[in-house]
């Protein structure tokens, strides 16, 4: 039964994959893959694929595996076996259908959350291997349509959501106007030279969640921070190209982002509540530009809020009363170690906190990250069905009293929304900023 249902989800039509595959010839496939293996397949690829002893211990790490009734096809090593192992063994001489299948597995059956790295005794980085496959797909032009569209947007506009330059400035003015109704002297300082903080957000904030910029401005204002945002491209810290395998674009995007912060002579970058952007700015993009760490200090919102509360820059009027639970996003917890800071902020702002289990580095992925939610509507059902284990985990927290889920990451927020809705959990989801905004002293 399970097998059949899996088969059904596995043949999801996707314009990007299908049209891309139509343009390929088998000869092209093997030529591109062989060249890729030769050029970019290094010691990590070799060691990871050659030392895995197929012990299966990684399985328990993966929410796909756990949610699909322990179907071994969804275990981390199982996904590598179906795709990369064959590609390497056949030296790239694989069929076009095989590439389509590989693209689906690499793009929609792995969130690159790296939980399995903590369950593999050797520390084999399956996320790296999946990204290696995604880059092959990128080079072959077989990428799910929706995420490829965001990558195109990155290339054309330097932001993820086709936001035009004037629209960006307009949005900021609009949010400033709105906020001034509440706090008359509030400003969203544009292009301020030498400010302490360069505040950057992801493309979807001005596009869909403009109130988050409003809230950030209120927090900055109340804390008396010296901050600014740019009026030029470079304001977007997000990076879907990191997930499509378009590494050249990763470098371009981060270059513009860092250079904009430096053009304004700011001292540090503070980012909104986004996990993958943090991964890109703090961990990945800097490497593509030849920086060991980011060229100027980078802070995720969690870290920034922590600093504000630690330094007593923000005061809380009344603590958030509904019991909250915290979802630890992979990119800021396994990828940034910010879990204790998040708990500190929650402790400062909420009266009741319920841990979900597992938590911190061992938290289950939201199922949306790693670009999976960005692969769009064709995969929504699969994504939600593939994370039943998250629903169980949330239901358990709910049973112990939690009413609100705090998800300090855009992708997690979106992914959890879908899960809460699909499984009828009836829980509210909030960003950390939402909670702070609600209960802070705004004067």
């Amino acid at each position: 039964m399970t097998k059949r249902s899996v088969q059904n989800i596995s043949t999801i039509p996707d314009e990007g994959i299908d049209k891309g595959a139509q343009r390929l010839t088998p000869d092209q496939v093997s030529r591109v893959i062989r060249r890729h293996l030769e050029e970019e397949g290094g010691a990590r690829l070799k060691v990871y694929t050659e030392t895995c002893v197929h012990c299966g211990l990684c399985s328990d790490a993966c929410h796909f595996y756990l949610s699909h009734d322990h179907d071994p096809k969804f275990s981390p090593a199982g996904k590598v076996k179906q795709t990369l192992d064959k590609i390497i063994r056949k030296k790239g001489r694989v069929s076009i259908d095989f590439i389509k299948k590989t693209a689906e597995i690499a793009f929609t059956e792995c969130n690159l959350c790296r939980r399995c790295v903590m369950y593999c005794p050797f520390g084999i980085d399956v996320a790296y291997l999946m990204l290696f496959l995604r880059r092959i797909c990128h080079k072959l032009g077989v990428v799910p349509q929706y995420i490829q569209d965001t990558a195109h947007s990155h290339a054309a506009t330097m932001n993820q959501m086709w936001v035009k330059d004037d629209e960006w400035i307009d949005t900021l003015h609009w949010q400033e106007d709105e906020a001034r109704d509440e706090i008359p002297d509030l400003r969203i300082p544009l292009e301020k030279q030498g400010a302490d903080i360069f505040y950057s957000v992801i493309g979807p904030e001005p596009k869909f969640r403009a109130q988050m910029i409003y809230q950030a401005a209120v927090i900055m204002n109340a804390a008396g921070m010296d901050w600014t945002m740019p009026a030029t491209p470079g304001w977007d810290n997000s990076d879907m190209c990191m997930y499509t395998g378009d590494e050249e674009m990763v470098a371009r995007l981060k270059k513009v982002h860092f250079e904009t912060a430096m053009r304004l002579k700011t001292k540090r970058i503070v980012m909104g509540e986004c996990g993958h952007a943090y991964r890109s700015v703090h961990d990945v993009g800097n490497r593509h530009l030849g920086w060991k760490m980011s060229p100027l200090p980078v802070m995720h919102a969690i870290e920034f809020y922590y600093e504000l509360f630690k330094d007593r820059k923000l005061k809380v009027n009344q603590k958030y009363d509904a019991p909250v639970t915290l979802h630890d996003p992979c990119n800021v917890v396994r990828g940034g170690g910010l879990h204790e800071m998040a708990r500190y902020v929650i402790n400062e702002t909420c009266s009741r906190f319920v841990e979900m289990h597992p938590n911190r580095e061992h938290n289950y992925c939201c199922g949306a990250g790693g670009g999976v939610i960005n692969c769009g509507p064709p995969y929504t059902n699969k994504r939600v069905v593939s994370n039943r284990v998250k629903a169980d985990q949330l239901a358990d927290a709910k049973a112990r009293g939690a009413k609100t889920i705090i998800a300090p990451c855009h992708n997690c927020f979106g992914g959890l929304e879908d899960i809460v809705k699909h499984y009828g959990l009836g829980m509210e989801i909030k960003f950390l900023g939402d909670v702070i905004y609600e209960c802070m002293d705004k004067e």
Binding site: E50, V53, L57, D60
Partner: protein, 208 residues
């Protein structure tokens, strides 16, 4: 024969490590920038202590068997009194010897562990799915020297022939270490250490 086996093992291991080092220098230069001895050791220590990590606590049977297996797998061939005496005879060097009784129990442990691993490969779907012929062969390559060793020790039927099997299978096992998945013995400190460094120094998180 033994000389050949040791040479292949040592030279092969050396060759694999050096060529991987060079490949890493050429293609994965970042490893050298991000490796941090402290965090590498922190991770390795957590993974060579039984039950130090969540994964190990989740699979207590596997953890106990895996540790027992690896300890015995190393200790028996090196400290078995018959082997030490052979080294003494050939090269006039000797070291501490295991009491025969202990060596016997440990050898049975290795065989038992191999059966446990075989059982996992056959009965656990997630392991069976990953298993191919080579995995069974490697398991056999490890088990045969111990089975034949015990056989010869007890001088069961045809032990002279089994002794030959013991010697040859032992040498085969030694020689294939660098060139098969058994090379995890060589690469474990590097893969774990690299991941430990990335998790510790860059990502400020645990990896166990």
């Amino acid at each position: 024969m033994v000389g050949v086996a040791f040479t292949v093992f040592l030279a092969g291991s050396f060759f694999r490590l050096i060529s991987m080092w060079r490949l890493a220098k050429k293609k994965d230069g970042l490893i050298f920038s991000y490796i941090s001895i402290f965090f590498a050791l922190r991770s390795i220590v957590h993974w060579i202590l039984p039950f130090a990590g969540v994964s190990m606590r989740k699979h207590p049977a596997m953890t106990i068997v895996a540790f027992l297996f690896h300890v015995c797998l190393f200790a028996v061939p090196i400290f078995l009194s018959a082997h030490v005496i052979l080294f003494k005879e050939s090269w006039d060097i000797s070291w501490w010897r295991l009491p025969d009784m202990a060596a016997e129990i440990m050898s049975w442990s290795v065989i038992g562990s191999c059966l446990f691993f075989l059982g996992r490969r056959i009965f656990l779907p997630e392991v069976r799915y990953l298993t191919s012929l080579s995995d069974y062969l490697i398991l056999a390559a490890v088990a045969v020297p111990f089975i034949s060793g015990l056989w010869s020790y007890h001088q069961w039927a045809a032990f002279q022939v089994v002794m030959i099997v013991h010697i040859i299978s032992g040498e085969i096992m030694l020689m294939i270490i660098p060139f098969t998945r058994l090379s995890h013995m060589l690469f474990f400190p590097f893969t774990r250490g690299y991941m430990g460094s990335e998790f510790g120094a860059v990502r400020h998180a645990k990896d166990w």
